[in-house]
């Protein structure tokens, strides 16, 4: 039998979430131990004896048996989930309760409950993302560290702290409380958005690592759209922007594996199914009165995916969408993107004017693509010397080798034009 990609990782999130529900969030460590044990058994057994017909069910059943042992052994020493209190104490109810609670129906809600619990107060956005990746997506500390270009020990600390906060929250989030649900929903959406962005714009040079983050964010967001209270226009907008941007991911690198600017991307590589799904999700997002930043971002991405070429793009519409986005969410990065769109809609000079008009440039001064944008517009108006200077600054700020190579190539391109010009 062949496994689907990341089968172990996905199963891990499912099982830990179900166990946390039974053990209580304060026993997160125990839930992780039991899960680990089930996976070790699977590994030892399957590698020699082959994979059973239903590996998911096998893993859950193994975890369940192990959980029963642990509950029997620890029930005097620990308190488990208050939801089930006495039922876990009695041999009459223990096994039956676990049969039901670790059965297939409950599992999706379990993951959502953990997702909401991971986005509680007292946890920074970075901590929330790390927790979600670790607990629900089955990423190891090393894998998360690689995705965020952090050291293993730094991530180990961040996760340990975050787990402590989570464990001290005592009760798992209650999905049935609709007021609490809508209060917490924006934080959950934000965490998934950041996960996706880390994959899409992130710092890690490893393409597979980043694609994984995008996939996971899309998977978790889909869970949210399938929940009765989670399926709001803003969730659909978030799901839509993820799909529409992910559709363009395959074109971001050229045949040599180098970063390709939007204008030079081979659009036939863009994913048709993802784009279609993104468009459908966008329709559902626009069904309500609510307009969020996710709506604007989805609409901008939609303009790009539907254009057959960079010239064919409706840049004026994109500028208007950026205006709308800036209205509800002022940000220098968005202003920069708006300026780039203005250059396309009108001319490089107006683009440069718009870039110079950005007031709050503090956050941009370490951002390589700020200088790259200026360089690009300078190059287009044949100011090769200034362009080269800007690409040089940009490449010094590059966050990985791939970016550096891309920006260095642009720098050299401009430099060549300078010397040709002087001679």
């Amino acid at each position: 039998m062949e496994f689907s990609d990341h089968f172990f990782r996905r199963e891990s999130g499912r099982i830990v979430a179900a166990l946390i529900k039974v053990f209580g969030v304060q026993n997160l460590d125990l839930a992780e131990d039991v899960t680990q044990d089930a996976f070790c058994r699977a590994l030892e057994l399957w590698k020699m004896r082959g994979v059973p017909p239903n590996p998911s069910a096998w893993l859950m059943a193994t975890a369940k048996n192990r959980a029963i042992d642990v509950l029997r052994r620890e029930r005097t020493a620990r308190t488990f989930s208050p939801e089930y209190g006495k039922m876990l104490q009695s041999e009459w109810t223990l096994a039956t309760l676990l049969d039901v609670q670790l059965g297939p129906e409950a599992i999706q809600d379990d993951q959502l409950r953990v997702m909401f619990s991971c986005c509680g107060r007292g946890l920074s956005e970075d901590a929330q993302c790390a927790l979600i990746l670790h607990i629900l997506c089955g990423f190891s500390v090393g894998e998360i560290a690689r995705a965020y270009l952090a050291s293993n020990s730094a991530l180990e600390k961040r996760l340990a702290r975050a787990k402590k906060v989570l464990a001290h929250s005592h009760v798992l989030f209650d999905l049935a409380n609709d007021i609490e649900f809508s209060n917490r929903l924006p934080s959950v959406q934000r965490a998934l958005y950041l996960l996706f962005n880390e994959g899409y714009h992130g710092t890690s040079a490893e393409r597979s690592v980043r694609a994984d983050l995008c996939d996971e964010a899309i998977r978790l967001c889909k869970m949210l759209t399938e929940h009765v209270l989670g399926a709001t226009p803003s969730t659909f907008a978030l799901a839509s922007l993820m799909h529409l941007n992910a559709a363009r991911l395959p074109g971001r690198l050229d045949a040599d594996g180098n970063l390709a600017p939007l204008a030079k991307q081979d659009r036939s590589l863009w994913s048709e199914p993802l784009a279609r799904e993104g468009a459908e999700l966008l329709e559902r997002a626009l069904a309500g009165p609510e307009i969020t930043t996710y709506h604007f971002e989805a609409l901008i991405a939609f303009e790009h995916t539907k254009a057959r070429s960079a010239q064919d793009t409706n840049w004026k519409a994109i500028v208007a969408l950026y205006d709308g986005l800036l209205n509800i969410h002022p940000s220098p990065i968005i202003e920069l993107n708006r300026a780039i769109a203005i250059a396309e809609a009108h001319d490089p000079v107006q683009g440069l004017v718009a870039i110079r008009a950005i007031r709050d440039t503090d956050r941009l001064l370490n951002y390589p693509f700020y200088y790259a944008a200026i360089g690009d517009l300078m190059e287009r108006q044949h100011s090769f010397f200034e362009a080269a200077e800007n690409f040089k600054t940009a490449s010094a700020l590059a966050r990985n080798a791939q970016e550096r190579e891309f920006l260095m190539a642009r720098f050299k391109g401009c430099l060549n034009r300078v010397s040709v010009g002087t001679i």
């Binding site: 496994f3 590698k47 090393g142």
Partner: protein, 112 residues
């Protein structure tokens, strides 16, 4: 042809799910390859890490609690022309990549 026991010792204790999946896939591929070459006599079994040890005065202790690198993880019976050929086959075992080893032991035969 003679029979040999492969005893797998030590090896991988990785915690990353992705790594576990990869480990399992290479092991499965290896057994598939062995099966196709026809040298597997009995695929054998993995063993639990903990058990009991019974010694001469009949006392029973938990154990064996060997060093991780010495723990016997499982066994397989294969057939090969001779010990050298059996050892050659063992060279393909994925446990070697994970720092473990394969002990290759000829099984004594009651031949006359």
């Amino acid at each position: 042809m003679s029979d040999f026991l492969f005893i797998y010792r030590g090896g991988d204790a990785s915690t990353s799910r992705e790594q576990m999946q990869k480990t399992m896939e290479v092991w499965m591929a290896w057994f598939k390859e062995l099966g196709a070459s026809g040298c597997i006599k009995e695929i054998g079994n993995p063993l639990e890490a903990d058990g009991k040890v019974v010694i001469s005065n009949k006392s029973v202790t938990d154990g064996p609690y060997a060093e991780t690198k010495d723990v016997i993880g499982g066994y397989t019976m294969i057939s090969a022309p001779d010990l050298a050929a059996a050892a050659e086959i063992a060279k393909g075992c994925p446990i070697l990549e994970a720092g473990g080893c394969v002990e290759v032991r000829p099984i004594l035969q009651m031949s006359m």
